[in-house]
Amino acid sequence: MAIRTSMSGNEATAYAVRQINPDVMPAFPITPSTEIPQFVSNMIANGEIDTEFIPVESEHSSMSAAIGASAAGARTLTATSSAGLALMWEVVYVAASSRLPIVMAVVNRGLTGPLNINAEHSDSMGARDSGWIQIYAENNQEAYDNMLQAYRIAEHKDVHLPVMICQDGFITSHAVENISLLEDEPVKKFVGEYCPEHYLLNEKEVMAVGPYAVSNYCMEAKKAQAEAMIRSKKVILEVAEEFAAMSGRSYGFFEAYRMEDAEYAAVAIGSVSGTAKDAVDRLREKGVKAGFLKVRVFRPFPGEELAKELRGCKAVAIMDRCESYSGQGGPLGAELTAAMYRAKVTAETVNIVYGLSGRDVRVEDMEKVYGDLREMAEEGKTFKQYPYLGLRE
């Protein structure tokens, strides 16, 4: 029986952690992810789980300890945000290249500066090339559901890659919403025991992790890592299918909302999706063929699949909750436009930067986006790339 209750995204993540009962969690507090290690520490103190919590002196240390624990053979978890992820930087890549199935709850917050603590994707988008799988949540329900699926993907023999489970800071992590939780037993059965084939604490096997590799071997190692990322696509879908059978909630690389006959589409990641869907509903009532694509999996990037979804569209707004300072827009804009070009999908596109540092996005803002798309497609109006949504100017 599903448990119907209300909780924040951080609470929902911690609830999933309790059900998973990972072996080791090194973590350092940083807003807005602090509550996750805090809740987990309470659960350990209360004897609800037997996770070994390591209070470290920095995020570089939390990721280093996570790498050590995972290499030793422990199912390992950490959590962070913003500057914490930035401080991990060097070793974030090592976790992936060492093929360690670590899971990290990332509560998205903008990188400084200006100094700010609110929702933005600049932290995890900065780490998009680090070799981690990245799965983003729209709300607390998805933060919980994604967390439960994370180890199944990371630990799969065809994958062996670390996974970031991302949710928007404060908007998702702190806002309390209704949620449907699963019971402990089916979750435990679904997640399963972790039995690594190779691990450092195995006294029957000699093993070294992270050796120096000269130029003659690095490209081959990186190719193997890249292939694992490509293979993870199949695993992500298989795990989602199994999760749907247990929970009744279906997930894919993205959610297509009223896209069947859509002429105007917006594409975005995270909590703005609820707002965008509301705008789509309002426009549909007025007879506008609007649709929305919510990207759930950003790494591996489902470029072909997204482009296919946009084939029938006249104009598409690709929305980034971070600035790349490339002078061209944001990362989702760059990657999706490239994917559309390869798939010969020729809809007009505009890459919009929105919601930086927690800037609110209202349904009316999204309605304006769709209005602009219609003008672009029907009146041939050209739009300056790349606009900031809701900017004072």
């Binding site: 290249s97 060492s98 093929r99 360690l100 062996h160 190779h198 096997e205 000699v206 093993m207 070294a208 992790v209 992270g210 050796p211 590799a213 003659n216 071997y217 490209m219 081959e220 190692a221 190719k223 193997a224 890592q225 292939e227």
Partner: protein, 100 residues
């Protein structure tokens, strides 16, 4: 298929390397002549040596072989010429020369 360290070389395909380049064998350093990095070489003068063996634990690369409580000449396959042994020797029996 995962190959043994001695089977891996510059012709090995990406599919045949171990995952994350993990190593599942001991003593694979025997397969690599890391002494070729050396730009300075220690010279051991046996007549000045008092066999105190002070140099042995100081060598970071275990390149001073000891047999029957006496040291022999350096293992130049792994010695990188760091010169620590020269500094450690109380009797001036080790000096560094330029080159290999």
């Amino acid at each position: 298929m995962e190959l043994k360290a001695e089977q891996i070389n510059e012709e090995t395909k990406w599919q045949d390397l171990t995952e994350g380049l993990k190593i599942f064998e001991p003593a694979t350093s025997r397969l690599f002549e890391t002494g070729e990095w050396r730009t300075q070489t220690p010279v051991w003068e046996e007549e000045k040596c008092r066999q105190c063996l002070f140099c042995v634990p100081y060598c970071p690369d275990s390149c001073i072989p000891v047999k029957d409580k006496r040291r022999g000449d350096f293992d130049f396959i792994h010695c990188k010429g760091c010169g620590i042994c020269e500094k450690a020797c109380p009797f001036g029996a080790i000096s560094m020369k330029e080159g290999k």
